[in-house]
Amino acid sequence: MSKKYILVVDDDPDLVETVAMMLESKGCEVGRAYDGVEGEESIKQRRPDLIILDVMMPRKDGYVLCAELKANEETKDIPVVLLTAVGEAVPTTRYSHADGMSTEADDYIAKPIDTETLWEIVNSLLS
């Protein structure tokens, strides 16, 4: 069986590395992107089996990218896990839990999540 290819998109480079280290230890191949536009370009170049997507990012945020992917026939079936850094909802922004839950993402998780739980979610969506 070929390795699953997972794209991690987050503007926190340390989180990208931590998640990538965990996924690689589970036998996955990992792509890395550091904002929404780079993530979008990366998806065009190689279709991932799953995307782990941060919400707040420069240029194109996770909500917008997720909506675009789910509206596109070619990418709508790629599972998307949204990760948000909003510890508590920040009322002055649109990045609230309610907004996150209303997206079409396959799962929506508040940071920080432990990597083993994240793997369980990823693994269940892959299978």
Binding site: D12, D14, V16, M22, R59, G87, V90, Y95, K111, P112
Partner: protein
């Protein structure tokens, strides 16, 4: 002759493909004040603990922090936002430093972070070379699991961002103007989000260990950046992975103290690559060391993270060799024999769901 050969080697590397230095991006925190402290003849980390605890009690975020101890004393570097600098200065002034000789330097600074470094010394080499060519002397440096950060003079920060676009390429912004557009409007929302994290026990994604490392500490003149860049380039060619890096100014900004750790090499590759840089004071720790890193949301921005780590070490009787906190990680170096005790101490204060070893 040796020097000439090495300089040529650098030029060849520079003329080669830049693809090895294609990075994901860089970030800058513009308006900060950096404090460099050298406490001569002091090996007690309680000074750093007192300082970090006082900063934490005043809820001063620390976007950058370094700490290191050698037989000559301890080296502390910390950065706060400009508007909080007076408050930080008062805290520094109020602490009793006992009989130690303390040298303090203060500068208006910006924190520039490039990522990912992939543990390749070549990335640090290219960054230092770019600084050297533009007469930029970092007051301090630190790596995180993915990024290398440098504290630079505020007035040279714009020049520094421009200087990155020669030795490095960035996949999504090809010019400094692209990058500026990408950063617009981010700072305010980030501050709100950082303020939203108020957990009593900070949660990390995991505690990651790198075991069996060689530790080198180097004291060099701040003006010798190009030589340091050359050393990193030589080490990259020798296949060494840069696992831990902090540097701090000593006595103003005339000298830099580096703490570097690499996976243990059976032969002394590091010294072999020092070449003619023998005027430097280089010391290799005879015992292997281990480095840990913890990544949590905005760890490099929030108050209390460094204080909590130092407190749990103090309570467990652990003396760290060096600590660095930047971007979203806090990292440290300890003696190899202390890995278990350190893991337990950290687990007592931080919410650590997983421990990984490399």
């Amino acid at each position: 002759m040796d020097r000439l050969r090495r300089e040529n080697a650098w030029d060849e590397a520079e003329a080669g493909s830049v693809s090895g230095r294609c990075l994901g991006g860089f970030k800058i925190l513009w308006d900060n004040v950096h404090f460099s402290l050298f406490c001569e003849d002091s090996q007690d980390p309680k000074h750093a603990l007192k300082l970090c605890s006082a900063l934490s009690e005043s809820k001063l975020n620390l976007p950058f922090f370094t700490f290191g101890i050698d037989e000559k004393g301890q080296y502390i570097g910390l950065t706060v936002e400009s508007e909080l600098a007076l408050k930080a200065q008062k805290i520094l002034d109020s602490l009793s430093w006992e009989k130690d000789k303390v040298y303090l330097a203060t500068s208006r600074s910006s924190i520039l972070s490039i990522f990912p470094h992939r543990s390749k010394p070549e990335i640090a080499a290219s960054l230092l070379d770019a600084f050297s060519k533009n007469n930029i002397q970092p007051a301090a440096m630190a790596n995180s699991s993915a990024a290398i950060s440098a504290v630079i003079d505020r007035h040279l920060a714009a020049k520094a961002t421009q200087a990155l676009f020669g030795p490095f390429c960035f996949s999504t912004y090809r010019t400094p103007e692209d990058w500026k557009l990408a950063q617009k409007g981010k700072e305010k929302i980030y501050k709100e989000i950082i303020a939203s994290y108020q957990e009593k026990r900070p949660k990390v994604y995991s505690l990651n260990w790198h075991l069996n490392l060689d530790l080198f500490d180097i004291r060099s003149l701040s003006t010798e950046l190009r030589n340091m860049a050359q050393l990193f380039m030589n080490l990259d060619r020798a296949g060494l992975k840069l696992t831990f890096l902090i540097s701090s100014a000593v006595g103003g900004n005339q000298e830099q103290k580096f703490f570097l750790a690499f996976p243990h090499a059976p032969k002394d590759t590091f010294r072999e690559n020092l070449g003619n840089l023998t005027s430097w004071e280089v010391r290799k720790d005879s015992q292997p060391v281990a480095s840990f890193s913890m990544n949590g949301p905005h760890f490099g921005d929030r108050y209390g993270i460094a204080a909590l780590l130092l407190k749990c070490f103090h309570e467990a009787g652990i003396r760290p060799i060096a600590i660095g906190c930047t971007v979203a990680s806090i990292m440290g170096l300890v003696e190899s024999g202390q890995v278990k005790a350190v893991t337990e101490a950290i687990r007592g204060s931080f919410d650590v769901p997983a421990v990984m070893e490399k």
